[in-house]
């Protein structure tokens, strides 16, 4: 019995030690990276990729704080959280020398205020949060703005993201305010506006909202464009509408936590993701917009021209990028709690 225990224990230790050098722990949004990309990377480099997922920036941030930036080698925060995490010393500066494919990225998305010089982050995908509708349902087909979601015909047919900023952004936009509003009075106003909407919500989901839409559990869903892209591919009745009041644009970035163990492997993987063919493949599979210019050239016409993936200029004009709220986030958190406990 004792021998058995000792053998098992030493086996465990051995596997941990041996495997250590050829591993990469990725912490990413769910449904945000095709399994085949990971498999191909492993085939080429021999590095085993273990990916776990989260469904919100807040969850990512809390986990990284808890594990003290250890254990995960690559994470994918949105812009506002890159700023926040960098301010709190949770991110490691990137070694640009290891990233040979960096020049493929669109210069318009680089050197932004949240991370000048891209010291800590490299854009992975960008996209929008707008409304997907099932045109089979007349009330849903008539939606052109956020205000339409409040209509009584949509009661019980709505899906909202399990995302504080996504939902509060809707209220703020309806009132004509910025998505990055820091005035607590205005945030409270948006909160009051949103409270009655909670009755119409059938489900909150940020993991795989397209499922509810495809299963006909909901007829209208506020979600990310990639989800809409895949859903409309499965069911052509599903369309993506950019609301008239404006909507949120976001950029998700690849970062390395401060105390990551497999730093070289992380850089290797980032460089791999920056390859035009890989970025183009991910864009086609997931439906989000790629910041990789070289990849854009490789995309088939129907993807490049698809307004879900790449919004038309007049739609882009209505979009607003999400930025860090700083201490004002407290007002948002209180509102979110009120909305969720309705």
């Amino acid at each position: 019995m004792k021998r058995l225990v000792l053998t098992v224990l030493s086996l465990m230790l051995a596997t941990q030690v041996l495997a250590a050098s050829k591993e990469l722990y990725v912490y990413n949004w769910s449904e945000y990276m095709p399994d085949s990309v990971l498999a191909d990377f492993t085939k080429e480099t021999g590095v085993k990729v273990i990916m776990s997922t989260y469904d919100s920036n807040e969850a990512l941030y809390a986990k990284i704080r808890m594990v003290e930036a250890k254990g995960y080698d690559l994470i994918v925060p949105s812009t506002d959280f890159v700023a926040r995490m960098h301010k709190e010393g949770l991110l490691m500066p990137l070694d640009k020398g290891k990233l040979t494919n960096l020049s493929n990225l669109d210069p318009k998305l680089m050197n932004q205020a949240f991370d000048p010089d891209n010291t800590y982050s490299v854009p992975y995908m960008w996209g929008s949060t707008a409304i997907a509708v099932n045109t089979k349902d007349p009330a849903a087909a008539a939606i052109t703005s956020y205000a339409d979601l409040w209509k009584p015909e949509l009661k019980g047919k709505l899906l909202l993201p399990n995302d504080m900023r996504g939902v509060l952004g809707m209220g703020l936009k309806r009132l004509g305010y910025s998505l990055n509003e820091t005035d607590p009075v205005k945030v409270a106003e948006a909160c009051e506006l949103l409270l009655p909407l909670m009755e119409s919500v059938r489900v909150f989901d940020s993991d795989s909202p397209k499922q509810a839409l495809l299963n006909n559990e909901v007829q209208a869903a506020v979600l990310w464009n990639g989800e809409a892209y895949i859903a409309s591919g499965e069911n052509p009745d599903i369309r993506y509408v950019y609301p008239a009041e404006g909507f949120s644009l976001w950029v998700d970035n690849l970062c390395i936590p401060k105390n990551a163990a497999n730093v070289d492997n992380a850089h290797l993987f980032i460089d791999y993701l920056l390859r035009p063919e890989v970025a183009a493949f991910i864009c086609q599979e997931m439906g989000y917009s790629s910041p990789n210019l070289a990849a854009q050239a490789l995309l088939p016409e129907d993807v490049r021209d698809n307004a879900i993936v790449y919004p038309a200029p007049e739609d882009m004009a209505l979009g607003e990028f999400e930025t860090d709220l700083g201490p004002a986030v407290k007002a948002y958190e209180e509102c979110w709690m009120r909305l969720k406990t309705r």
Binding site: V8, L9, Y25, S30, I50, K70, G71, Q211
Partner: protein, 254 residues
């Protein structure tokens, strides 16, 4: 009256088993998206077994369950024996605490251990998970073994002592053989508790050691998928087999 009883019992059994049965049947369904039967296939099982991360998580779960069960059985038996045979300070407190621990909701155990590990600056991973699972299982083993110990003839132990046996000898050669079936039952109980645990693992494991229920949880949140159906079918069958085996085992031993 008798017919009513049979009907009622059958209804409850149907309620308990129908979703599980449906799961097993549909894991062979060739349809990807709907529940309409499209033909028999083993594709999903193949897909499951080629999912390396999932297989690793399954292996991790089995490993942790075996380790946790073994450690809990040893510790739990020692606790039970100490409580039953000896007098020492805090004996009553410990006995009551074991019972309270058994009743504690998983979430309370999970977060309290998380706070402990954070306070001790322990990195979350396989060792913290092991400690957490042992904490979960020990009370069950203790209470089981203690119950068995209570039914024993103290004269046998007295006789051994008269013959000059020390405490350790008494434990090893008299007590342990007598309670062995209960220890074994405790082992199986712990194994199952560990394999099935979701909430405590959620709070106490780290990125480097993923366990199966947590993997299933992230897959389940993505909606109905045939691979998950296959995975669930396998888990249902494994549980059924384990229950049968432990029943046989315990019947023979007693």
């Amino acid at each position: 009256m008798r017919k009513l009883r049979i009907l009622y019992a059958t209804l409850v059994f149907v309620f308990l088993y129908l979703p599980l049965g449906v799961m097993v049947v549909y894991s062979f369904n060739a349809s990807r998206f709907s529940m309409a039967w499209k033909g028999f296939t083993l594709d999903w099982y193949v897909k499951l077994f080629s999912n390396a991360a999932l297989m690793q998580a399954a292996l991790n779960s089995l490993l942790i369950a075996a380790l946790a069960a073994t450690c809990s059985s040893i510790l739990g038996t020692l606790i039970a024996m100490a409580l039953q045979r000896w007098r020492f300070p805090s004996r009553k407190v410990i006995h009551t605490s074991l019972f309270v621990m058994m009743m504690s909701p998983d979430i309370v155990i999970g977060i309290s251990l998380l706070v402990l590990f954070m306070a001790l600056s322990l990195p979350l991973g396989v060792w913290t998970l092991l400690m957490a699972h042992v904490t979960l299982c020990v009370p069950f083993v203790s209470i089981t073994v203690y119950g068995r110990l209570l039914g024993f003839d103290p004269h046998v132990v007295e006789a051994a002592r008269d013959l000059g046996a020390g405490e350790y000898e008494v434990f090893r050669h008299v007590v342990l053989p007598m309670v062995f079936p209960a220890v074994l039952a405790g082992w199986f109980l712990s194994f199952t508790l560990s394999i099935d645990d979701v909430i405590i693992s959620f709070f106490t494991t780290g990125p480097t050691f993923e366990v199966l229920p947590l993997r299933i949880y992230s897959m389940v949140r993505l909606g109905l998928k045939p691979e998950v159906n296959a995975l669930c079918a396998i888990m249902i069958l494994i549980t059924a087999v384990a229950v049968f085996v432990s029943q046989r085992f315990l019947k023979e031993k007693s």
